[in-house]
């Protein structure tokens, strides 16, 4: 329990937050900003689901519907999923795990936050600047001819890219340079390995998106003739550029989720992670091979069948490292001492949902089966299982796991379990019907639909309400915990990584003295004999 000051109380006032260079405060600011974006994106999603209760108009016009799903996608991808884990938990925990005082470039870190806010505001501005209805994928030539909101939204994504690159650079430098004495590469917690792999992709892939978006803007403003067929451009070129970034971005989103799993499962099983090196290297393998599979989004786009075959092959290859991780996590639980507090409940949810997400990926990586399923609800369900069932659920696991460290308070375990179960049930009810609709031939981004699909749409919409309720409850007990006095012990779960060796919440400089690394990150036996 914290006596004296901590990073939350050392200085006060809005300015002390807005101009802080403390990685923990920046992580917390990111946290609230991203939660706000998640709330907005969630509201857009609920509206979309309500509209789909009936096959024709329910509550909004076709234009509004198209704008809603575009905003939902853009907000969730660019403002929530990409920065979520890395910018909040990564920022907060990474230096602590390394026994460092801060990240390598604290000012750059603050800059990345401000750029994030600027990008977010641009994105929201597109709503009033004529609206955007291109879908978050901005496919040409639709996006080169569509209305006014496209320009600010594309600029927003461009700006947000820099925020992401800055975070990546910062983490790479921090991991190389600021490890505590004795913390060798293979003694680093796997969370750090995951962040390292993520950062590499952020730094290498994001510039491609930047270039693509600039070309798109030039096409819109000066008709340079690169993507628009009427001007002699090639619309498929845009898709290649776009997915060359946007497939790796899937790994920017999921690798941090996997990184959290590799912390939570051992701690709540009280057992050393199984296959440390296999997990660490599989992250790197995913980061590398992930750059060469983008064409699996384009099997029916008109790209050559040979290209399709190669992309299909590589896609199957990149599936293997993810499978390896799942088996290693399971093996970690074998003969452990397992307790099911909220973080572990989320970790188990992750295992099940991510397994479905991964296995349904087999249908889409396989070129013949993808032809029928492409651009249907099957794909929508698949990527929600990976992005929500994977990234968001892992994010929730991480929030519940590090909440005591971040804010110094314990939340209500009882309500946390209720909400975890509601989120799990609601999520499945929302998206399992979408698999069935999709394989039966219901295309995505449809405002009207054939009446035969209505029962499944209704089930899906009801699921979204259960999911929404789960989140409301979560907001309730998390806020409630903040009104209590500090009551979290420094190591509530019995973790062996360095962040649990300092107070909850930590002091501004993290550790009273630079910690000495005396045991491995998953060495719970050593922890026991210490005590």
């Amino acid at each position: 329990m914290a006596e004296g000051t901590n990073y939350l109380t050392e200085t006060r006032g809005l300015k002390s937050w807005l101009f802080t260079v403390d990685h923990k405060r920046i992580g917390v600011m990111y946290f609230w900003s991203i939660m706000t974006a998640l709330f907005l994106g969630g509201v857009f999603a609920m509206l979309v689901r309500i509209e789909l209760l009936t096959p024709r108009q329910t509550i909004m016009s076709a234009e509004t519907y198209n704008r809603m799903f575009t905003l939902h996608g853009a907000v969730m991808v660019f403002l929530v999923l990409i920065p979520s884990i890395a910018a909040t938990l990564g920022n907060f925990v990474l230096p602590l795990m390394l026994g460092a005082k801060d990240v390598a470039f604290p000012r750059l870190n603050l800059a990345s936050y401000w750029i994030y806010v600027a990008g977010a505001l641009f994105g929201l501005y597109s709503m009033i600047a004529g609206g955007i209805e291109t879908g978050w994928t901005f496919y040409t030539p639709y996006s080169t001819s569509a209305g006014g909101g496209v320009t600010p939204m594309v600029l927003a994504a461009f700006i947000l890219g820099f925020s992401s690159i800055f975070t990546g650079i910062n983490f790479i430098a921090t991991i190389h340079k600021l490890r505590a004495p004795g913390l060798t590469w293979f003694k680093m917690p796997l969370f750090v390995w995951g962040m390292y792999a993520t950062s590499i992709i952020q730094v290498l892939a994001t510039p491609i998106l930047g270039i693509t978006l600039i070309l798109l803007l030039m096409e819109r403003m000066f008709q340079i003739g690169i993507f628009d067929a009427r001007l002699g451009g090639d619309p498929l070129l845009f898709q290649h550029f776009f997915w060359f970034y946007s497939h790796p971005v899937v790994y920017i989103m999921i690798l941090p989720g996997m990184a959290i799993m590799s912390e939570v499962i051992p701690v709540f099983s009280r057992k050393t992670i199984f296959g440390y090196k296999a997990i660490a290297f599989s992250s790197i393998a995913i980061a590398v091979v992930g750059f060469f599979v983008w064409g699996h989004h384009m099997f029916v786009s008109g790209q050559s069948p040979l290209a399709g075959a190669i992309f299909s092959f590589l896609t199957f290859l990149v599936a293997i490292p993810s499978a390896i991780k799942v088996f290693n996590w399971l093996a970690t639980m074998y003969k452990g001492s397992i307790s099911l507090e909220a973080p572990m409940l989320y970790a188990i949810s992750f295992l099940l949902l991510f397994a479905i997400g991964g296995l349904t990926g087999l249908f889409l990586g396989s070129i013949a089966t993808d032809v029928h399923l492409h651009d249907t609800y099957f794909v929508v369900a698949h990527f929600h299982f990976v992005m929500f069932g994977g990234t968001v659920i892992a994010f929730l696991a991480g929030i519940h796991y590090w909440w005591p460290k971040m804010f110094g308070r314990m939340y209500s375990e009882k309500w946390a379990r209720v909400s975890a179960v509601l989120v799990f049930v609601g999520f499945n009810l929302t998206f399992i019907p979408q698999f069935i609709m999709g394989s039966r031939g219901m295309p995505r981004r449809y405002y009207n639909y054939l009446p035969q699909f209505q029962p499944m749409h209704v089930a899906s919409t009801i699921g979204s309400w259960v999911l929404g309720l789960g989140f409301l409850i979560m907001a309730g007990y998390l806020f409630a915990s903040l009104r209590k006095p500090y009551d979290a012990p420094s190591n509530p779960w019995g973790g062996a990584t360095l962040e649990w060796e300092t107070a909850s919440p930590p002091i501004t400089h993290n550790f009273e003295t630079t910690p000495a690394v005396t045991h491995g990150p998953y060495d719970y036996a050593a922890l026991r004999s210490d005590a």
């Binding site: 057992k271 090196k277 786009s301 599936a319 290693n328 452990g336 295992l351 013949a368 029928h372 405002y447």
Partner: protein, 313 residues
């Protein structure tokens, strides 16, 4: 397995569809097996190794090369199996037989136009003979669309700057739904078509003489049907509300203000011109986005539309 097939997949319209379903169901069962394996293992461990007391000792095993190899190589072998099966199916179905009947398809916001080799043209509806391969040669006039026929398990994007192809050999007569699968704007979800698979004799008769309904249905009714099936309804309402185009209610015999400042009376000739040469006179306050229906409607069909619009007063 038939119940699973009919739960997850639409009706089969070709031999390819049934091959497709076999692969689809194989992956489904395989996935179900692995999911149950993972779920059951997780469930069993959670129950079997639940924490009974705080200091319970745990196993010290931290790695096993044999295990890592097992769960790397077995999945690898399985996915490579799927890869080759799928590739084989895809390649086998990628090139149309030389004797396939060719139909040109033009996609535009938000309709499908078809042209047969004998010059017959249709919109949003296409007739093909059963048991014979047909090849659709497609291009778009504006953005990207995607030609999706669920019962054939086939889909192909339609692009503005190149021709793409899709072919199949239908094996069951009746109506097959055609959908647009690539998001293309406001009426994307209304960009539907009907593919009628006829027996040979019916098809030949249709190709020579056109639709039964086109010849015999009363004009007003035919006009109403065409208004829906030829895509007029995606831009024009009949109840007075404004869409991408003006409502067709109270147009006939009324004064129309044009973009160039002139005013015309909407008589039968004006309506005909609006349909065949929409860019000739642009209504004030609207974009010149209406596609031409020149060659896409038979004489009697144009008359029917005029009659229908007249009836909306």
């Amino acid at each position: 397995m038939n119940w699973l097939r009919s739960l997850l997949l639409p009706a089969q319209g070709s031999a390819y569809a049934s091959e497709y379903d076999t692969l689809f169901l194989f992956i489904t069962l395989l996935s179900a097996f692995f999911f149950l394996l993972i779920a059951a293992t997780a469930g069993w461990f959670v129950w079997r190794y639940r924490r009974a007391r705080e200091q319970a000792p745990t196993s010290m095993v931290t790695q096993s090369l044999a295990l890592e190899l097992t769960w790397t190589l077995i999945p690898l072998a399985i996915v490579m199996g799927i890869f080759f099966w799928s590739l084989n199916q895809y390649v086998g179905a990628s090139v149309a037989p030389g004797d396939a009947m060719e139909i040109q398809v033009t996609a535009k916001k938000w309709l499908w136009a078809f042209e047969y080799q004998n010059g017959t043209r249709t919109v949003n509806e296409v007739h093909i003979p059963v048991g014979k391969p047909v090849k659709f040669v497609m291009s778009s006039e504006d953005v990207i669309h995607s030609f999706f026929v669920p019962s054939m398990r086939l889909k192909q994007d339609v692009l503005p700057n190149r021709y793409t192809e899709l072919w199949f050999t239908p094996t069951t007569t009746g109506m097959h739904t055609l959908l647009c699968a690539e998001y293309c704007g406001r009426s994307h979800s209304d960009m539907l078509g009907k593919i009628w698979v006829d027996d040979d004799a019916t098809f030949q008769k249709w190709l020579e003489e056109g639709d039964e309904s086109t010849r015999t249905m009363p004009l007003k009714e035919l006009g109403k049907m065409l208004y829906e099936s030829r895509g007029c309804s995606t831009c024009h309402s009949i109840d007075g509300t404004r869409g991408d185009g003006p409502s067709l209610r109270n147009v006939f015999a009324h004064d129309i203000k044009l973009a160039d400042g002139k005013t015309v009376i909407a008589d039968a000739n004006y309506i005909r011109e609006s349909i065949l040469e929409p860019q000739a006179k642009i209504v004030l306050g609207y974009e010149p986005i209406m596609p031409t229906f020149q060659g896409l409607l038979r004489e009697r069909e144009i008359l029917a539309l005029i009659e229908f619009i007249r009836s909306l007063n």
